[in-house]
């Protein structure tokens, strides 16, 4: 067989494979769409069923009383046809979707429906799977439906090689650990992203009964910079006053990104005693740190801080700083905390200040 013949044969095989590939693509598209349409229809039915028949029964019941017997009618359970795996998953998705939009007693009702229909067993099964994607799905379901699992079951995922799984485990741990929701900070070896922090904030806001953590230790001793930044932001969000001393220690680090986070946190925590230190360090700071100092002083609103802000506005020629200070001063003036009339203000500065004063 000549080389040309072999080449043409290979080409013919690829043509056949391309034809097959095209046909398979069409088949998958058609099948997936059919399945999706069926699932959508079923999900709409389940949604309706939950809203019309299941939730009203729970609402009638006194939530404070512990009820051992399931409240859902056998008839409704049959109607749900929950033996089917796809339907069970659809039911979980429906409950999560509803749970996302409600809080308080309604959220608790959805949680109880989840448990009564034993959908939690499906989620628990998922965290035992060997596939990390399924583990993540299980952890998300349990977290979002507020079904607590033991710390040990979650902590083993913290050692996973997959960052998505570690991240899901941290969120779950934070949600369910009653004593120390941030204990995982001790073991973190990889960097935390701001995205994870956004999730932590959300969980904190949803779990008002969580034990207040002491972030001071991690801020002082953690060797992972992202943990330190994360803890400073959490301390500021939680108004954790005891963290102020540790944060203050970071005003002297050589990493200016870290320093600017520290200054920002001190501002949010209203650490008034750091005012002199901040003013003293101001001249030899990079611009992001200077802006954070001005922001912090704007929160302090002490006579000294306001005087410094006014001085900076008069002497600075940097556009960013000028605008930052003007914004802060205008806010103070609008709020009645500052009554400032400067007869000799440069025309440009006067225009900037006027702009911020008129801003809604």
């Amino acid at each position: 067989m000549s080389a040309e013949t072999i080449f043409i044969t290979i080409i013919q095989c690829i043509i056949a494979l391309s034809l097959l590939g095209t046909f398979v693509s069409y088949t998958i598209i058609a099948t997936k769409r059919h399945k999706e349409a069926r699932n959508r229809k079923r999900q709409a039915q389940l949604n309706q069923l939950i809203v019309d028949k299941i939730l009203p029964q729970f609402i009638k019941e006194d939530l404070s009383e512990a009820v051992s017997e399931p409240l859902i009618d056998r008839k409704i359970l049959d109607e749900l046809a929950l033996m089917d795996k796809t339907d069970r998953q659809l039911m979980i998705d429906t409950l999560i979707h509803l749970r996302w939009h409600v809080a308080g007693a309604n959220a608790f009702i959805l949680h109880r429906v989840y448990v009564l229909l034993e959908l939690n067993q499906d989620s628990l099964q998922k965290i035992k799977s060997r596939r990390w994607q399924v583990n993540v799905q299980g952890l998300h379901e349990l977290t979002l439906m507020d079904y607590a699992i033991s710390d040990i079951d979650i902590l083993r995922f913290n050692l996973s090689d997959v960052s998505e799984l570690r991240s899901a485990a941290r969120s779950a741990f934070m949600r369910f650990s009653k004593n120390e929701p941030f204990r995982f900070f001790d073991e973190i070896r990889d960097p935390l992203s701001i995205w994870e922090l956004v999730g932590f904030f959300r969980i904190l806001d949803q779990s008002k009964d969580t034990v207040k953590s002491n972030f001071a230790n991690w801020i002082r001793y953690s060797r992972n910079k992202t943990v330190v930044i994360c803890c400073m932001k959490l301390a500021a969000h939680e108004q954790s006053i005891e963290a102020i001393d540790s944060i203050e220690g970071l005003l002297n680090v050589n990493d200016h990104a870290l320093r600017s986070h520290a200054i920002n946190a001190l501002g949010h925590l209203r650490a008034l005693h750091t005012q002199d230190h901040l003013i003293k360090m101001y001249p030899n700071q990079p611009i992001d740190c200077q802006c954070e100092i001005l922001f912090a002083l704007g929160i302090f609103r002490t006579p000294g801080a306001i005087q410094f802000l006014k001085e900076q506005f008069l002497v600075t020629y940097d556009f960013e700083i000028e605008n930052n200070v003007a914004g802060i001063l205008a806010r103070l003036m609008r709020g009645g905390q500052l009554n400032w009339t400067v007869p000799q203000l440069q025309e440009r500065k006067q225009r900037i200040l006027n702009y911020y004063l008129q801003e809604q």
Binding site: E4, I194, N254, R259
Partner: protein
């Protein structure tokens, strides 16, 4: 062929990973988070009087906690500015404006006196003969650290900002970070954090022709009925979901489209923003941003997400389409000429060894090679040296392979999101792939070559008007235009 198959597999894996990552509804976390960084949405407008109000409304109803909308009236000769002033109760303001990027003179700034539109800032400037100059004015006036560049006639998904912001917030350094060194009483040594920084994020653009739009919201998605936008829809799906997703997985994204791109303002300003002289200002700026990062030893990434977030009206007739493609081709020549030093330069790492060589071989040289092959075949026919059986087999291979790749791209799109209501619409779009090699592909090659020839002879490029049908509502359709 191997490259296309590899890209298809890689993009599939990346798409799957994206969806696993987004399983926990976490995008919604951003909507209420105090940590969400601010974004300035910049949309230049030139003679968009017909649709401007609906478009601005759509931009002001995005799901994101902290953003502003900056509309730049780029010297419109129609009633674009008047309509904006009247509808949004705009009043002149003396905005502190710092011209960090040089632009043509800015005449006035407007803000609304109605608190409901406090996010809106309108800039009136002299016409800059292109989108770049107007976008630069928007960047100068923006107050947040990130800016989203779009066209005012584009319709954005309500979650566009939170979805595009996620890759920026989620980027992690793979290396263990340095220990923190506290050096009290020794002054400050300002060190730079060398964590990988996402400098730009993009998402697929799609065609809005034939879809139903109500008050700036798409109520029914349809593949375009007209043949040219339909081909473009298929081309866009292929380009974004096969090519760019694969490049994103390898951190080798060559370009973030001018229609929808989220950029790091600090880096964009450092490189001088968009170049108003460029015919492909988006590729040019992304390339300069990448070069800047590499030359300053900073680690960076450019990311793409697989979810379609932006819908735009594609050229409906051959004249407008030709103008667009000729401009793109000339832009590519410009990019190759301007950044020639990057090509096969190991100093520029992936940019020099992967991104640019790919652009050079598969984008720039492809039309020239195709034309050469075509002429060679004609020569063989003329001298009677052609083996018809083998030739037809090879042509059949090219044809079937291109159809399969397009079909896979549509499949990936369907696995991502199902915008079209009917299966017949999807299959109809797939079937378009059978006609593409005969109609659309020769057109693209022809217009690219035309652009190259115009570049060689340095002919003046006419930006012209993009004839728009408008999509505000079914009974108010007319024609508007933009650069």
């Amino acid at each position: 062929m191997v490259i296309y198959v590899a890209m298809a597999i890689l993009s599939y894996k990346h798409i799957r990973l994206y969806f696993w990552k987004n399983m926990g509804h976490y995008t919604q976390n951003m909507i209420s988070s105090p940590l969400s960084p601010g974004i300035s949405v910049i949309a230049p407008a030139y003679n968009e009087g017909l649709t401007i109000i609906d478009n601005v409304y759509a931009l002001m109803h995005l799901n994101y906690p902290l953003y502003e909308v900056i509309i730049i009236n780029d010297g419109s000769t129609d009633d674009t500015l008047d309509k904006l002033i009247e509808h949004f109760a705009l009043k002149d303001v003396d905005l502190p404006y710092h011209e960090r990027i040089k632009t043509l003179p800015v005449k006035r700034f407007f803000r609304s006196s109605d608190k409901a539109y406090e996010k809106l800032l309108v800039i009136d400037k002299e016409n800059g003969k292109g989108k770049a100059d107007a976008s630069n004015a928007g960047i100068n006036a923006s107050k947040y650290d990130y800016f989203l560049c779009t066209d005012v006639d584009c319709i954005l998904h309500e979650d566009t900002l939170s979805r595009l912001m996620r890759p920026i917030l989620d980027e992690k350094s793979r290396n263990q970070l340095d220990d923190i060194q506290v050096i009290p009483d020794t002054g400050y040594i300002h060190v730079e954090d060398n964590q990988r920084r996402v400098i730009a994020v993009g998402a697929p653009l799609r065609m809005i022709n034939s879809s139903d739009v109500d008050n700036g919201v798409i109520t029914r998605f349809r593949p375009p009925n007209k043949i040219l936008p339909r081909f473009q829809e298929l081309e866009y799906i292929r380009a974004y979901l096969l090519s760019k997703m694969a490049w994103s997985a390898l951190n080798c994204v060559p370009n973030v489209s001018g229609g929808l791109g989220l950029f790091d303002k600090h880096i964009a300003v450092k490189v001088g923003g968009y170049d108003p002289r460029s015919f492909a200002e988006d590729i040019d700026m992304v390339t300069r941003m990448s070069v800047y990062m590499i030359q300053n030893n900073k680690r960076y990434a450019i990311r793409y997400i697989p979810v379609s977030l932006c819908w735009t009206e594609g050229p409906q007739n051959l004249k407008v389409f030709s103008r667009q493609r000729v401009r793109w081709a000339r832009g590519l020549v410009q990019i190759m000429r301007l950044h020639w030093h990057v090509l096969f330069n190991t100093k520029f790492k992936r940019l020099g060894m992967v991104v640019f060589p790919y652009n050079f071989l598969f984008e720039f040289l492809a039309p020239i090679l195709e034309l050469t092959g075509f002429i060679f075949y004609i020569y063989l026919i003329v001298i009677g040296a052609i083996n018809w059986v083998n030739t037809l087999t090879l042509l059949c291979f090219l044809y079937m392979f291109s159809v399969m790749i397009s079909s896979i791209a549509v499949l990936w799109d369907q696995l991502t999101e199902r915008h079209y209501r009917k299966t017949s619409e999807v299959i109809g779009l797939c079937l378009t792939a059978f006609a593409e090699p005969f109609i659309y592909h020769p057109l693209i090659v022809f217009f690219s070559l035309k652009g190259y020839v115009q570049s060689m002879f340095r002919q003046k490029l006419v930006w012209g008007n993009m004839q728009r049908k408008g999509f505000s509502s079914s009974n108010t359709k007319g024609t508007s235009s933009s650069t």
